[in-house]
Symmetry: C2
Subunit: 190 residues, 2 copies
DNA sequence: TTGACCCGAGAACCATCGTTCTCTACGGTA
DNA sequence: TACCGTAGAGAACGATGGTTCTCGGGTCAA
């Protein structure tokens, strides 16, 4: 029946996105071919192109799904704390844990923007949307802590800077430096 | 009796690098072909491959030369000031001016790293070298201002964060936010 | 002048890759 | 059983791009 096919379609879509995320994040978008995705996911090329009419759209879907997961994980880490100030610092603890993961290769959206931002409006839009969502989330934490709104922007700069520096220098330390700076900034703004 | 079209090796190299810088920075490395470089520079393919045996090495040379120019420009801006504190803030004024340039497309090394860091050791090494040189420069400014050494790392995070945020959100504002944060941090660390 | 040499223009070569097509097999259905 | 729609494997196609080669013309030393 239609329901069976549809379930298969959903499962195939998830498998395809799993493989896309693993490969795109590890090697970059342009050095991964659709055939690599097929090999890693077990989803046939025909099915892949039914689900995502062009590679562009697979990339878009990869970034969109990763955005949801990334922000959810961040939220879970922050929600372990009740104190508004601690919740802000937990963002940087989360970064530190992330940077230490063995397959950490920087921020997927910064990387994708560097690779395709100039040529793919879809990718540029995903990067913008993700960073704006992150900014909104920080703004909420900052408002809860009754700090001036501009502090959220400053915290975001620290976080973004930590991501790129950790990736390029291959060390998790920037998360700790950013956390220290965030503590000073929130204290200074109070 | 040099005809206009014939160039010595040094001039050809400069022209090739000029074109490479313009195109690679604007469109990304992988979407620019060697033939594009030839068309934009007027340097024949044969000559290009004599000067740079592979595209990889042209990319490396592009990043290496840009590193020198970028840091020299930054230094010139900073050297307009004598007060140690002002010299630190001038870094962020420089970023603001840079972000406002019409062809600004983010940090060339962050972009190149996102695009090729996973597959090209040469590019990864260039990005690392550039960021370490920037870090050393900031450390010098911080030492001159008699601030604790860790402040330099924090300032770098602000600067890197401003670069990626300005690129993705297409606004120069992050430079001002970073400057404000830098002022607070240096004051707090004193 | 001549002939060895070098250069640029562009074709050629070869691999890769996004995308589509063909062909065969199979599962459900009357 | 006979039919039909669909799926998957993989070939095919067309474009692109890195790299090399050919060719014709100009340059320079002797």
């Amino acid at each position: 029946m239609g329901s069976v096919t549809r379930l298969d379609g959903v499962a195939a879509r998830e498998q395809a996105l799993d493989a896309a995320e693993r490969l795109f994040y590890a090697r970059g978008v342009q050095s991964v071919g659709m055939d690599d995705i097929r090999g890693a996911s077990g989803v046939s090329l025909k099915r892949l192109y039914q689900l995502f009419p062009a590679k562009d759209q697979l990339v878009e879907a990869y970034l969109a799904r990763r955005d949801l997961v990334w922000r959810q994980r961040l939220g879970e880490r922050v929600d372990r704390h009740r104190d508004a100030e601690e919740r802000i610092l937990a963002v940087f603890d989360h970064l530190h844990a992330w940077f230490g993961e063995p397959d950490f290769r920087g921020c997927a959206w910064i990387n994708a923007y560097g690779e395709l931002g100039a040529t793919s409006p879809r990718v540029a839009a995903q990067a913008r949307a993700h960073k704006l969502a992150f900014k909104r989330y920080l703004a909420g934490l900052v408002a809860d802590a009754k700090l001036p709104p501009g502090t959220a922007d400053q915290l975001q700069l620290l976080a973004e800077g930590a991501m790129v520096t950790a990736a390029i220098l291959e060390t998790a330390e920037p998360a700790l430096q950013a956390r220290e700076a965030a503590a000073l900034l929130t204290r200074a703004a109070r």
